[in-house]
């Protein structure tokens, strides 16, 4: 029962966030210099044309009315039509979202697979070969920009050795290199956190009890310590997913993937206001959903918080 | 007779975080407590964790002011004072806490820690140094060590420094909240003797809070027993030791080996253990005596009547309707016996 209340509270927060973002977007767009009508019609359009476009866009109405219709649009998830392509923005977003999401998830998976085992090993065998390997890896990972890594990987595995395709989308093979370059840098942070978390748990008093109970070292480390150490990692993984989605923008450029990132980037270049608005709200929604899921997952795992 | 400290019907309500909690009423950490401390005496406050003794100490000093009731220091109501006037009074009331490590800033030299209060009072440098030196000597720390950092001292020494620091303000009243609990037995003895000497030399009045009943009984002239925010029994030390009355007091005394002979009647342990005393919520169901649930003598009447502290003679106050009734009956009986 308390858990349900907790979930509802978090859901409420989510909706509040989206509302807030939508409002900010609305006002910011209107503050930015530049009249969308001019952009559409061109610099030397006639007054009548501009008025007509404004009427069509609805920018001639009072601001309150515009805001309200904006909010209703957000609620219905209808962001109007793209100013450049004329297509419904929502449709454009949903066409490309799966690719970006898959890329981000793959990136996260690679990150986890790389970081967590190595992090645990580093903590359990401190100052050993594994630990040094982990430290080097994390240093390198943090220093290397993902796009640089992306290009490097492309050169090596798509050009020199034709293991992976150079560009395009359509199969998982196209996503491997992008996912690796995305996941590699983030893995570094996750590794450090894993190591720190494990080290901290291993120094706790209940570990002494576990040993005093005659449990095997394996049970002590991989059952007792690990379960507690995992907690902060869950949160971090969730945050990482958010970064992956963000970082996907650059990677998509490097690998010429027709994903969401590229879409929005193009929209910004072209001053496609509908697209930009819709994009921002969508991203806000996705991030809020991720945070929400992380919160729920964390409290499900941490018995102390479950009670709200 | 008016004491140096008078507490009248003091209550302190704690609200938890969140908007909803305020509507629910929060938790009454201190519940209508009244007692007075005479000048030059030591008042001991005992009770288990969560009974509110620390909250009471903080409320008394207005560090965390009470939500209702009055505190009088030397006849003056602290609640009615302006901030400046309150600060002036507070100077004369100091507190020593349990953990010297958190009381002393590890990055400040000892002499700077000690001079801080004096500096705020704009005491000139020479005078400050003189006082700090004198006080350190008084507590047995060679003044050469004043330039050291806290971590260079032992636990016992740190606690002495904390005491000396409290004394820099030249207080009349000192609250000691578990001042020796963290220390070894032999160091405890040193600090206790120090406290006795200081009380003598500087004419101090103490409020001594501790879970160590022996120590409290050793030092105090009067003892108050707290349970779930309420004062359940209050008496001069000798009186309460010889004749503890409240069922909780009996249980408490019986749990401490070799303590009160008069408590031999009660059993310290009672079968299965439920949750320990939790801070009482002020809801209709929680009226009546807070100890009812664990009390061997309680009956339905105890849930309906609010026990107040009643004087049963010799300054001995008890908040228990059962014991008052039997004490009354005893008194009546003995009077009748005397009449015949």
């Amino acid at each position: 029962m308390r858990f349900l209340l907790f979930v509802l509270k978090r859901l409420g927060r989510l909706l509040l966030t989206v509302l807030l973002i939508s409002t900010i977007v609305f006002f910011v767009i209107r503050v930015i210099p530049g009249d969308p009508a001019l952009v559409i019609a061109g610099v030397d359009a006639s007054k009548e044309d501009l008025a007509a476009i404004r009427a069509k866009l609805g920018t001639d109405r009072p601001i309150g009315a515009q805001y309200l219709s904006w909010l209703t649009a957000v609620a219905r998830f209808d962001f109007g039509k793209s100013l450049s392509t004329g297509q419904p923005v929502t449709r454009m977003i949903f066409e490309r979202f799966p690719l970006t999401l898959t890329l981000a998830l793959l990136g996260l998976a690679i990150s986890i697979v790389l970081a967590i085992p190595l992090g645990i090993l580093s903590a359990v065998r401190r100052w050993s070969v594994w630990d040094y390997l982990g430290m080097v890896f994390s240093q390198v990972g943090m220093a290397v920009p993902s796009f640089w890594l992306g290009i490097l990987l492309l050169l090596l595995f798509a050009v020199k050795i034709r293991l992976f395709p150079l560009f395009g989308s359509g199969s998982i093979r196209h996503l491997v290199l992008p996912a690796v370059s995305l996941g590699f840098a983030r893995a570094a942070v996750l590794l450090r956190l894993t190591r720190a978390s494990m080290v901290e748990e291993l120094s706790r008093e209940y570990i002494v009890t576990a040993r005093a109970k005659g449990l095997t070292e394996r049970m002590v480390k991989y059952r007792h310590a690990l379960k507690n150490a995992m907690l902060p990692l869950v949160t971090m993984a969730g945050i990482q997913l958010g970064y992956m989605l963000g970082g996907a923008v650059i990677i998509e450029q490097v690998f010429s993937l027709p994903g969401l990132g590229r879409l929005f980037l193009t929209g910004v270049y072209q001053r496609d206001f509908s697209l930009i608005q819709g994009g921002i709200v969508f991203i806000a929604l996705v991030f809020s959903l991720i945070n929400f899921a992380v919160d729920i997952l964390y409290s499900a795992l941490n018995p102390k918080i479950r009670m709200g | 007779m008016a004491g140096l400290i008078e507490i009248r019907d003091m209550s302190k309500r704690h609200y938890q975080r969140g908007l909803l909690s305020r509507a629910q009423g929060g938790v009454l950490a201190v519940d209508r407590v009244s007692f007075s401390i005479e000048k030059g005496s030591v008042f001991g406050l005992v009770g288990e964790s969560g009974c509110g003794k620390t909250t009471l100490a903080r409320a008394l000093l207005f560090l965390d002011p009470p939500t209702s009731g009055e505190v009088l220091f030397d006849g003056t109501r602290l609640g009615g004072l302006s901030l400046r006037e309150l600060r002036e009074r507070r100077r004369r009331m100091q507190i020593v806490f349990q953990d010297p490590n958190s009381a002393l800033d590890p990055k400040m030299r000892v002499r700077d820690s000690m001079e801080e209060g004096l500096r705020n009072l704009r005491v000139p440098k020479l005078e400050r140094e003189r006082r700090v030196r004198k006080l350190l000597e008084l507590v047995g720390i060679p003044s050469e060590h004043a330039s050291g950092y806290p971590h260079e001292f032992s636990g016992g020494q740190k606690q002495r420094i904390v005491v000396a620091r409290a004394l820099t303000m030249d207080p009349e009243f000192l609250v000691l909240d578990e001042p020796v609990s963290n220390l070894d037995v032999s160091i405890q003895a040193q600090i206790v003797n120090l406290l006795l000497d200081l009380k003598q030399e500087l004419s101090l009045t103490y409020l001594f809070i501790s879970h160590d009943l022996h120590l409290v009984a050793f030092l105090s002239d009067g003892i108050g027993v707290m349970y779930q925010g309420r004062l359940v029994e209050l008496a001069p030390t000798g009186e309460i030791m010889a004749r503890p009355v409240h069922p909780y007091t009996l249980k408490l005394f019986a749990s401490v080996p070799g303590f009160a002979e008069g408590a031999s009647g009660a059993e310290g342990a009672s079968g299965a253990e439920g949750a320990g005393p939790a801070p009482g919520k002020d809801s209709p169901a929680a009226r009546g005596c807070p100890y009812f649930a664990s009390c061997a003598r309680g009956d339905l009447a105890c849930t309906r009547v609010e026990p107040r502290l009643i004087d049963i003679g010799g300054g001995h106050m008890v908040a228990c309707i059962k014991e008052i009734a039997s004490a009354d009956a005893d008194l009546a009986h003995s009077l009748e016996g005397g009449k015949r």
Binding site: K213, G214 | P257, G268
Partner: protein, 337 residues
């Protein structure tokens, strides 16, 4: 016919442990500890902080981290076997199964991520090879035995859902679940409220009755030890300076440290009088005074005390069942009171 170890369950002989400290003299935590516990005996180990009581218990358990710590001498005989000579794996099998430990602060020493029931059953499954159902039944019995009312609910709870007293009982249940012969209780009641202390002590006594286990009860509180122990050893600066049956120690303490310690405890009936104080403080393990470690603080100290470390000797009529041993040159000397 006298057995070599008098049938002692635990016999610690001349145990010495040092801790390496970076750039400096090693800390001599234990300088030759002699301690014995018979089956079914409760021995109190009393000392102030820094005296070595925790190092002793940790060493017996085999939990001493051997990089910084080094066992430089002595034996730890448990049921005749020297534990120090066993391999790490063999020692692990002894832990929990034959020698168990209860710690001071149950809130820190219990794993917050596992239910109480699981923390008990995992031991039963590991050491006694029980299956889940069997282990659960046994855990329920144990919970009842240690006085945890509402066993099913408690076993399904997480540590933070229980009160301090209940957590400690849960720890005790965990410790005794495999029926160990020796239980080490390291300040088990220090973190608890006064009214709970007595309950836990009574529980410990009950356990000794029911299971006949030997118990090493470690505490700094002499008053508690007096309730629960059969015999008491007093440790100072890594050495046992006095050891005697309980009442004898409290009624006629012989070693100056013991006597002063007892005098420095405030008792309600001595209200008003100043407490007897031991000047100075417990020496740092890195700088233990030569000769008798207590001599700088001892009112009886003479020149001999600074040179020669006194050996532990039986005092008076040594009975077969543990006499009164004391390590002091001048036991008979009159006090300058």
């Amino acid at each position: 016919m006298a057995e070599t170890t008098n049938g002692a369950l635990l016999d610690v002989r001349d145990l010495a442990v040092e801790f390496d400290s970076r750039g400096g003299a090693p800390a001599r935590a234990l300088r030759g500890i002699d301690l014995s516990i018979a089956r079914g005996e409760i021995r109190g180990l009393v000392g102030e902080s820094g005296s070595g009581k925790t190092v002793t218990s940790t060493c017996v358990m085999g939990l001493l981290p051997t990089p910084p710590a080094r066992i430089t001498a002595g034996e730890v005989l448990f049921k005749g076997r020297n534990l120090l000579a066993l391999s790490a794996e063999e020692r692990r099998r002894v832990r929990g199964r034959e020698i168990a430990m209860v710690f001071q602060e149950p809130s820190r020493y219990l794993n917050p991520a596992f239910r109480i029931g699981t923390q008990i059953t995992e031991m039963l499954e590991l050491h006694l090879g029980m299956r889940k159902a069997e282990a659960f039944t046994r855990a329920t019995e144990l919970a009842r035995l240690v006085g945890l009312g509402g066993e099913r609910k408690v076993l399904a709870s997480y540590p933070h859902e229980l009160s301090g007293g209940m957590k400690q009982r849960a720890m005790i249940a965990m410790a005794i679940c495999c029926n160990p012969s020796l239980l080490i209780a390291d300040e088990p009641t220090t973190a608890l409220d006064v009214t709970l202390q007595l309950q836990i002590l009574r529980l410990i006594l009950r356990l000794r009755e029911s299971f006949g286990m030997g118990i090493l009860f470690i505490s700094h509180d002499l008053r508690l030890v007096r309730i629960v122990a059969d015999s008491v050893s007093v440790i100072y600066a890594g050495k046992i300076i006095e050891s005697a049956p309980r009442e004898e120690l409290f009624r006629s303490p012989l070693h100056p440290y013991t006597r002063l310690l007892l005098l420095s405890i405030p008792a309600a009936r001595n209200r008003g009088a100043r407490l007897r104080v031991i000047p100075g403080r417990v020496p740092d393990a890195q700088a233990v005074p030569a000769g008798c470690a207590f001599h700088p603080r001892c009112p009886l100290a003479e020149e001999l005390c600074a040179r020669v470390m006194p050996e532990s000797r039986e005092h008076g009529l040594g009975h077969a069942a543990g006499g009164h041993a004391i390590a002091c040159h001048f036991v008979e000397k009159k006090w300058p009171d």
